[in-house]
């Protein structure tokens, strides 16, 4: 347990210290959401209608764009070899790196979401469902990003290829994430069906990701 906690601390520390990590994702999220209302025009009702979808898509892209960083730095300086051979089980190591990635990329995005939701005129009562669904969904997104990053770890600047590889896997999370948020916001009958499916997809991704990534990394080292 102690080695894993040390790794979690180090990874989060590195993300915030070396810049480019959380900063880049937050910057992207911020800029796109701020620009959106200018592009769409001053129709408040239209903005409210598309706000949930827009926030989800931009969150997804922000996580996708930072996927490469999960393993690339550690591969470059040789840390990855040691991390996978000199410590706990590789699957656990990857799970910790995944969680560290979520804390340093997704969590800051979730924290600024309330302010950005204002800009997009998110419907009243939509904020709490949005944050709940995004918290769950982003964990699934990070898990899938980890698999992509592991498979393509040997390729430099692989962000675009990772995007192409895991984009199809992101679609179910996007569909059920948006529909769960919408259902809960407008309080339709049985509002939690999509949420449960979203939760299911996220849990499956979280379980598969460490094993798949460990195999991919073993083949790539």
């Amino acid at each position: 347990m102690k080695p894993l906690l040390a790794l979690l601390r180090r990874d989060i520390n590195l993300f915030f210290r070396s810049g480019g990590g959380a900063g880049q994702a937050i910057g992207f999220y911020l800029v796109v959401i701020i620009l959106f209302p200018f592009g769409v025009g001053p129709d408040i009702n239209l903005l409210a209608r598309i706000s949930i979808g827009v926030l989800w898509v931009v969150l997804l892209l922000a996580i996708l764009l930072s996927a490469e960083r999960i393993f690339s730095d550690d591969l470059e300086d040789g840390s990855l070899t040691l991390l996978l051979t000199a410590g706990p089980l590789p699957e656990l190591v990857i799970l910790v790196k995944l969680i560290a990635h979520w804390v340093s990329i997704a969590l800051p995005l979730l924290l600024i979401t309330p302010f950005l939701a204002l800009m997009l005129n998110l419907p009243a009562g939509g904020l709490i469902p949005l944050i709940i669904c995004m918290s769950i969904g982003s964990l699934g997104l990070c898990a899938l990003a980890t698999i992509g990053a592991a498979i393509l770890v040997a390729i430099r600047r692989a962000n675009q290829i990772i995007a192409l590889l895991i984009l199809p896997l992101y679609i179910p999370i996007l569909i059920f994430g948006v529909s769960a948020t919408t259902d809960m916001t407008y309080q339709i009958e049985k509002p939690y069906t999509s949420l449960l499916i979203l939760l299911g997809i996220t849990l499956i991704s979280l379980i598969i990701a460490p094993f798949a990534s460990a195999q991919a990394l073993k083949a790539n080292l």
Binding site: K2, P3, D77, L82, T85, A86, G87
Partner: protein, 223 residues
Amino acid sequence: MKINRIIIQNLSAQKGERLLFEDIGFTLKTGQSLLLKGPNGSGKTTLLHILAGADQPKGGDVNIYTISSGETPRHDGVIGISHFITHQDALKKSLTVRENLTFWTEYMGGDKTRIDSALRTVGLEPMPHILAARLSAGQKKRLMLARLLTISHPLWLLDEPSVSLDDDGQKLLTKLMQEHISAGGILIAASHLPLGIEFNHTLTLTGGRYMFNDDYLLDEENI
């Protein structure tokens, strides 16, 4: 964890289509050392990678027997008992000297109370709070060597450990290796430069063939 012996059997490796070596087998017991020699690209680093568990062999086995495991080899091989020093420093530029060492010490199950004395031994005591990005190549190497001191692992796998070290640094390395062997550790090193210690055995790899300097390691009686 006390290691009893390490037995390598029929080990083969290839890079792409090219066979690096085939059917290497030897046994090293506690307190023994092996020097790997051979021209560039002959497979020294690959052999060390395989021993460290970072690379898969084409065939063959690496079995580690610890004192406590008796006659059955450890099921998880070298994981958690070996140090692997390569040309890659595994140091994070945005962490300080001390933070880098502390992380690896915690991660590899070492002794945190030894960090200060380890930094003193390798000569980095005056700069624990300097970012690793500001270190010279030799200082980075010294920081890597500090890992050997804070974490006591019985098997050392060193790949060109003396590269970029100054005279003092090389003397330090020699001293560390001597202490390790006399404390009952096992040492396998690949180096072109003299490392200052007498290795028990030498394994020379050349284009698919290999050769020991003596028959000791191959003799079943000695296993």
